[in-house]
């Protein structure tokens, strides 16, 4: 006898995510999906398309645009939006800089990463979104390990880790007042490896950055950063060309890459499975600020 009625871990994760996507679409008035073009948000959009098949995805996607994008990611974003037939809302950090709501950092280490939070919250408020799907996973970072699937944000968009709603069974509590919203993380229980397995199994298309390609890069703080028009080089930093790929895609100023020759999902999967370093540890300068870097930014309302 075969072991009947069993789902593979990947299909169980998929089912759980689809349940969450449907629950939000059914119970919120104006949900949105935060779409960066990063692999997690791409998988999330793919899952949303599957959850409501054959109907179109019943909510728009929002891109928080730092203005420091990799060109490949913007092209990919526009193609994905067209392919899935979803409406795109862009919230631009540049608008907040121009309006004087935030002050841009200067110097060679300048990044717009932290400014994004203001733009994200403004985008949510201006569009009246009451739920925002994010692709965050609990395996990414210690503060995220305690995040709920439905994460309540007060009227200032802030997260209070000591006062989270208990989350039982698959009964989610999305109750909120006007002005408050809920961040929803359907990929909470996925790991980086799960994401890549799913990308391979489903043939999910990703921005080309995720696969090995040659580009000018330089070393900084033990990471490999892309040499681009957005970063000033420091004394002694010498760009060189290498075969690299990105494990995460964020603001071009603080997202590093790794040397790699993996040009397909299969090859990347093999690399990820063998890797001894987490994706954020390898490639995210923003998490290195302090041991509690992510926790502090999350409280402010970050992704």
């Amino acid at each position: 006898m075969t072991t009947a009625y069993e789902l593979s871990p990947l299909r169980m994760l998929e089912a759980e995510s689809v349940h969450v996507l449907r629950e939000v679409a059914a119970t919120f008035e104006r949900p949105t999906l935060l779409f960066s073009g990063g692999k997690d948000s791409v998988v999330l959009l793919h899952l949303a398309a599957k959850a409501f098949w054959p109907a179109p995805v019943p909510f728009p996607v929002m891109h928080v645009d730092t203005g420091h994008n990799f060109d490949e990611v913007l092209e990919f974003r526009d193609r994905a939006v067209a392919r899935f037939g979803v409406r795109l809302v862009v919230a631009a950090v540049q608008d907040d800089i121009d309006a004087g709501r935030v002050v841009e950092e200067t110097g060679p280490r300048a990044s717009r990463n932290r400014l994004q939070t203001v733009t994200l919250l403004r985008g949510i408020a201006e569009n009246g979104f009451d739920a925002a799907f994010g692709g965050a996973r609990r395996d990414e970072e210690k503060a995220r390990a305690k995040e709920r699937v439905f994460s309540f944000r007060d009227e200032y968009g802030q997260w209070d880790p000591r006062n989270q709603r208990p989350e039982l069974w698959n009964l989610y509590n999305g109750a909120h007042r006007k002005g408050e919203h809920i961040r929803v993380f359907p990929l909470s229980n996925w790991t980086e490896l799960d994401i890549w397995r799913y990308i391979r199994a489903e043939g999910v298309e990703l921005p080309s950055l995720y696969y090995a390609h040659r580009r000018p890069v330089f070393h900084r703080d033990g990471m490999l950063l892309a040499h681009s028009r957005f970063i000033e080089l420091l004394e002694g930093e010498e760009p060189f060309e290498a075969s690299v790929r990105f494990r995460t895609v964020g603001d071009a100023t603080c997202t590093g890459c790794v040397e790699s020759t993996a040009a397909s999902a299969d090859a990347v999967l093999a690399e990820v499975a063998a890797s001894r370093i987490t994706e954020r540890g390898a490639t995210r300068a923003d998490d290195r600020i302090s041991e509690a870097g992510m926790e502090d930014r999350k409280k402010e309302g970050y992704f």
């Binding site: 789902l7 509590n173 229980n189 041991e291």
Partner: protein
């Protein structure tokens, strides 16, 4: 995939054990390890502090205790394991309840030097209450009791005695040293007397597939997917197996149909759907199905009721559960108002003693309550089905989740108080005349005339008019299929009481669904009371031409949704005692026909 919840007291070394599991199974990556080494050194600790791997938030690291549920992931060649790491100290019982709600297995830690303490018992009780089928007691710090087999046996026997009072299907014991790694991932050389497997090996091998309910088919409708040529009911299978061709009913309306197709995410055709698949079902018939409805098999239905007996754990310090309080209750895909009718007892979770004099439940307290919901729930006992047997209560003032509930098997033990007066002792004999038909069919006009004539003849009679009752008795109900069913049920109950009291109850109610009317008839029959269904069969065109309240016009304009005869069905009676048509005469003539039914009855 295995979901596991861990619990233990502050000093039992639970975080260290999880850190050890992750570390020794190579789930910790180099940079995470480097961060832990760095912090351990900063704190002046000689050895690597593995607990730092799991204590995620700054406050916890500073206090050295875990304050919230943290989720960890462990992938072995055999299984993906999701660990809900829950704090053990007294004030955070609610976190253990949260972690255990989705767990297949609960891991309870005790310190070998201290043995089974109050908290171990509490954790075991919570795990069993939350229906966790597998329990593993890890006896930690074996290194500090010289790897003593006797000590291990003593603790095992002690725990077994307690566990016998609980409902635990599978109980295992593992002696470990989280600090040194003995029996965590590898078998220990220090305890040759131990014949079992390592903890990780046990977690990889424990059989959980049959813990699900694969018998009672349940699909709570979560979302209706509609396009021009597709209508499907999406939801997560909560029990049993569903496949194309299956005969099904949709509750609460009771429509029956057949499954046309079952599809997984993205439209993949599924031969058989089972929990926890997320599916979309198409039915053979065009039915009015909405979120909150439940699809099941005709001969295997959940309980339907508004009186809910449940064990409840209170989760907030900001308020307490007291009789009379009202909350929003979330159950499967339904959200209803519920009132606490009674706190039956509070359970002392250390002694399992039931305190029936308790007047409230505070944070972390567990008790048995009786709730009354505004509309019926479609539920199973939690023991039978964790999905259709669980609910949460949400406080409308704060929007917080304040309670977790596990529904008990409804007992048939609501006691009837015997009456001193027999029905035949009364001055007159009652009955129910039930006039059903479309809006503006003339029901109320006929009913009013029937009442006038009966009262004029000295017969006790009373008109129960659907519209009027919606101002009072049924003011809290809307027009969804569920609310309509409840509307009919309540009017039926009231009519029955009037009839029992010796009054002719004349009901004028659209009551569009046959199943609802049949239920009222069945209740009367069971109570030995005459019940006459009168079908006022006025064609919809005639009703619409009359339209005294302008309702049809509004429904046609789309201002009113779910209007019977326009975009909601009316099911014609199959056993009407009398059918009245416009051509049969004017309202007075039709009333006379109704009164003929009384001949021969009392």
């Amino acid at each position: 995939m295995l979901r596991l919840a861990t619990a233990g007291s502050v000093d039992d070394g639970k975080s260290t054990l999880i850190g050890r599991l992750l570390h020794d199974s190579k789930a910790i990556l180099a940079d995470q390890l480097a961060a832990v080494e760095h912090t351990s050194r900063q704190r002046g600790e000689a050895e690597l502090n593995l607990a730092l791997l799991t204590d995620g938030l700054r406050a916890e690291r500073e206090q050295g205790i875990t304050i919230d549920v943290a989720y960890r992931y462990l992938v072995t060649p055999r299984r993906k394991i999701i660990i809900a790491d829950t704090p053990g100290h007294v004030q955070y019982t609610r976190n253990m309840v949260t972690g255990a709600s989705t767990a297949d297995l609960a891991l309870i830690l005790v310190d070998a030097r201290k043995g089974v303490v109050e908290q171990s018992r509490r954790h075991a009780f919570i795990a069993s209450l939350l229906g966790v089928a597998h329990l593993v007691l890890c006896v930690n710090k074996m290194d500090l009791v010289d790897w003593s087999a006797e000590r291990f046996e003593e603790i095992r026997a002690d725990f077994r005695r307690f566990a016998m009072k609980l409902n635990v299907a599978d109980l295992a014991f593992v002696p470990v040293s989280a600090l040194h790694g003995d029996n965590v991932v590898q078998r220990s050389a220090n305890m040759p007397w131990y014949e079992g497997t390592s903890l990780l090996h046990h977690l990889e091998e424990v059989h959980i597939a049959s813990d699900r309910n694969l018998i009672d088919a349940r699909l709570p409708v979560q979302y209706v997917i509609r396009t021009r040529d597709f209508r499907g009911y999406a939801g997560t299978v909560a029990g049993g197996v569903l496949k194309p061709g299956d005969e099904v009913v949709v509750l609460p309306a009771g429509f029956s149909s057949r499954v046309r197709s079952v599809r997984g995410p993205g439209g993949d055709v599924v031969d058989e759907a089972f929990p926890p698949q997320a599916i979309t079902v198409q039915l053979e018939d065009e039915l009015d199905v909405a979120r909150g409805d439940l699809i099941c098999r005709p001969h295997n239905r959940p309980h339907v009721g508004q009186e809910i007996d449940a064990m409840v754990c209170w989760l907030t310090e900001r308020s307490a559960l007291t009789p009379g309080a009202r909350y929003t209750l979330r159950h499967t895909t339904r959200s209803v108002r519920a009132e606490v009718q009674e706190l039956v007892y509070r359970m002392d979770i250390n002694t399992l003693h039931r305190d029936e004099t308790a007047e409230s439940l505070s944070l972390n307290e567990i008790g048995r309550v009786r709730l009354r919901t505004q509309t019926p729930l479609l539920f199973d006992a939690y023991r039978r089905n964790r999905s259709t047997g669980s609910f949460i209560l949400v406080d409308d003032a704060t929007n917080n989740t304040v309670a977790a509930g596990m529904i008990s098997e409804p007992s048939a033990s609501i006691v009837w108080h015997p009456a001193a007066v027999r029905r035949s002792d009364r001055a007159s004999q009652g009955m129910t005349l039930w006039l059903t038909g479309l809006s503006a069919s003339g029901k109320s006009t006929i009913a009013t005339e029937v009442e006038r004539r009966l009262v004029a003849a000295g017969r006790p009679a009373y008109l129960l008019d659907g519209d009027n009752l919606r101002h009072g008795l049924n003011a809290d109900l809307g027009f969804s299929a569920g609310d309509r069913a409840e509307n009919v049920r309540r009017v039926g109950e009231v009519a029955q009481l009037f009839a029992d009291a010796g009054v002719v109850a004349i009901v004028s109610l659209i009551s569009p669904y046959r199943a609802d009317r049949d239920l009222v008839r069945a209740r009367h029959t069971a109570g030995g009371l005459p019940f006459f269904e009168v079908f006022v069969d006025t064609p919809v065109e005639v009703c619409e031409a009359r339209d005294p309240k302008g309702m049809y016009a509004r429904a046609r304009a789309g201002e009113i949704k779910g209007f019977t005869g326009v975009d909601a069905p009316y099911e014609v009676p199959s056993e009407a005692a009398l059918v009245l048509r416009p051509e049969d005469g004017d309202p007075a003539a039709l009333a006379a026909k109704v009164l003929e039914l009384l001949d021969g009855e009392g």
